[in-house]
């Protein structure tokens, strides 16, 4: 088979691409070894914190990021809509390392979701948007193509069952975490151990699992002590 994945960077270099990839926090290195590749589409499921952590390093280094129709917390995800306006916790975003002066938020794009995301992809380095429940395939393809041609990263946040994003280059799924530091009436929330599953197309086709403290102590992200990237295919091979 022709190794397309290997051929790609050469082509990009020949075309004089802006910069290869946007950096991610060192703790997320196991998750995204090469950073956020410009022009790619990544879907994130399960955790707003994970989404914010992905933006953090790039934002701190000067990239412009934008949130569209975010955040939507797990309360809404379980179905209790119209509970009250959910907003970004600016403090949490700051603690991850995001520069808030370069993080505009579009709380509700409504009917013009496609136009708004399209306009933002033209100018921003990272556009993180919640995928609406219903999105025409043609619109979806157009946005993915736009992200690729403008060399920006489209992070689509999928809230539970609603919304889909079949064309993602990479899929990150956060599993419910375990909180530590809190007991039965004592302590406080300190940090959360979270398992994140990664799979994707092409180069990233092999699924992996990474364990992180997200958030770790003082709101930042830390690798888990026994941080291991488990190649699921290896596990399967070992089992069989």
């Amino acid at each position: 088979m022709l190794d397309l994945a290997a051929a790609k960077p050469v082509a990009a270099a020949a075309l004089g691409a802006r910069s290869p990839a946007l950096p991610v926090l060192p703790a997320l290195g196991g998750l995204l070894p090469g950073g956020l590749r410009r022009g790619s589409t990544i879907s994130v499921t399960g955790s707003v914190s994970l989404l914010l952590a992905l933006l953090a390093e790039a934002s701190a280094e000067g990239a412009w990021c934008v949130l569209v129709d975010l955040p939507v917390g797990s309360a809404t995800r379980v179905g209790a809509a119209q509970m009250g306006a959910e907003r970004l916790g600016a403090e949490a975003a700051r603690d991850f390392g995001i520069d808030l002066s370069r993080l505009p938020v579009v709380p509700t794009a409504g009917e013009s979701w496609t136009n708004v995301v399209g306009a933002l992809l033209d100018a921003f380095d990272i556009v993180a948007a919640r995928a609406p429940a219903r999105l025409a395939d043609a619109d979806l393809r157009r946005l993915v193509a736009r992200a690729r041609s403008r060399e920006s990263v489209l992070l689509s946040f999928l809230s539970g069952g609603a919304g889909r994003w079949p064309m993602a280059d990479l899929r990150l799924v956060a599993e419910p975490g375990e909180w530590s530091g809190i007991g039965d009436g004592h302590g406080r929330l300190a940090r959360r151990r979270m398992r994140i599953r990664v799979d994707g197309r092409g180069q990233a086709a092999r699924s992996r699992e990474v364990t992180l403290w997200l958030p770790g102590s003082r709101g930042a992200v830390e690798p888990h002590e026994i941080a291991r990237v488990v190649e699921l295919s290896d596990v399967r091979r070992a089992v069989s």
């Binding site: 412009w64 916790g89 809190i182 039965d184």
Partner: protein, 528 residues
Amino acid sequence: MLPRIATVWCPDWPVVAACEAAGAAASDAAVAVLGANQVVACSPHARGLGVRRGMRKREAQSRCPELVVLPRDEAAEARCFEPAIRAVEAVVAGVEVVRPGLLSLAARGPARHLGGEPALVTTLQETVSWIASDVAVGIADGAFAAEQAARRAVVVPAGESAAFLADLPIATLDAFGDSALVDVLRRLGIWTLGGFAALPARDVAARFGPVGEWAHQQAGGRDDRAVVVREPPVDCSVTMELEPAVDRVDVVAFSARGAAETFIANLSARALACACVELEVTSEAGERAARRWRATGVLSAGDVIDRIRWQIEGWLHGGDGSPRLTAGITRLRIVPIETVPTGTHQQALWGGDGEAGERARRAIARVQTMLGAGGVMQPAVVGGRGPAQRTRLVPWGMCPPEKQGEEREPARRVDAPWPGHLPSPAPSVVLDPPAPIELLDAGGHAVVISDRGSVLRPPSRLRLRRESPVAVTSWAGPWPADERWWDPASAVRVARMQVVDASGRAYLIAGEMAAESEPQWVLEGIYD
């Protein structure tokens, strides 16, 4: 040849201004204005009772128990003096404001025009007495002599200033009572300005340096400093009257096009461009509202119209936290708050985040025209106890509340101690307004927090509205927060708790402390 200078002096100006700011009558009450716990100025009545400048507050009050003490407000002093300056400027050209309460002008020209120095004195006195009840005018050679002449309300004939100054006490040199020079001179046995002026200039310069040299010139009536004329400010604001009153956004925006173009044209005629604009409207019911907007770079006429449209939409329909107007708009005023010379490129001025920033800002402006001003928000971390208070979202480009003009709010500092604020990690999702939630104990009743901040029966289940209850696996708290206890109307006593449900989700919830009936719990944040 020394310039002939006329000086207008309003005695005890800090008192007049502080009384006006406090809305008190200054005429015959004993009033003292304090700065750094020392009397800065006092009213004639207080002076009659023995209050002096430089006294400590307690000392002044012991001399005069009925003394009304007001804090010094230098901004108000300048503001209240502005009408007096304008009145004088209407009579003569070229006025120098020495400090609020004291202004000087070159006397020769106006005196000739009005027919002599006595006529000039009368004219100035009449002009200013409309604004300040107490006013004195003096004319002499040189600014220092003119100020002393004004304090004594005399006209010193030309060439006699040195003789006029000679008999004045040495303390005259020291207008603010903090000069070490005067103290030294007194100890050297020099009690009058004449005595000081008689010293050889070279020796004074050698002993006292430039400060002494300057004082020596003043004492000898050789103060040849010219009047530094203030440039009258130009009003570039544009007012548009709407008759009859309009309550539709598109109509206002359409009518405002001409006003916005005039506004920009007026500024550019003075080689200025606007970087921050204030929009002020008056409604038919007499309400006034004002908001400031800042742009990346400079505002064009189209940008001004966009901001007018967004702001008026907020005022007429509510939604972005602005106060709502109840009647149609009758007047719109566009005021330039910050201007820059045309041609200075803004990109460099604002910290130069380069082409990417410029492009991003343009995209934001485009989305704002699609969705309205509230369509794009700027998050910021501000001080507060609850998570919703600590996150602030303002429409992108609108100045935050503490930078608004007259309706400004005090800034909530992040680094101030906020008792009751939980340490990090902060919830990544914040609910504003908080959503009702049920926190139930094993018996199915709402969890109660006692007056002393302890949980009587531990929580066992959590129930979001219209959901089936989920088991609580672990919880922490409660952390009481006694908010705004000084104001009974807005005081709240809440206790916050962190709970983790069976699926591993963590929530920040708050409930009223020591409630009479079953407390209502609310969901404030989600650690998503």
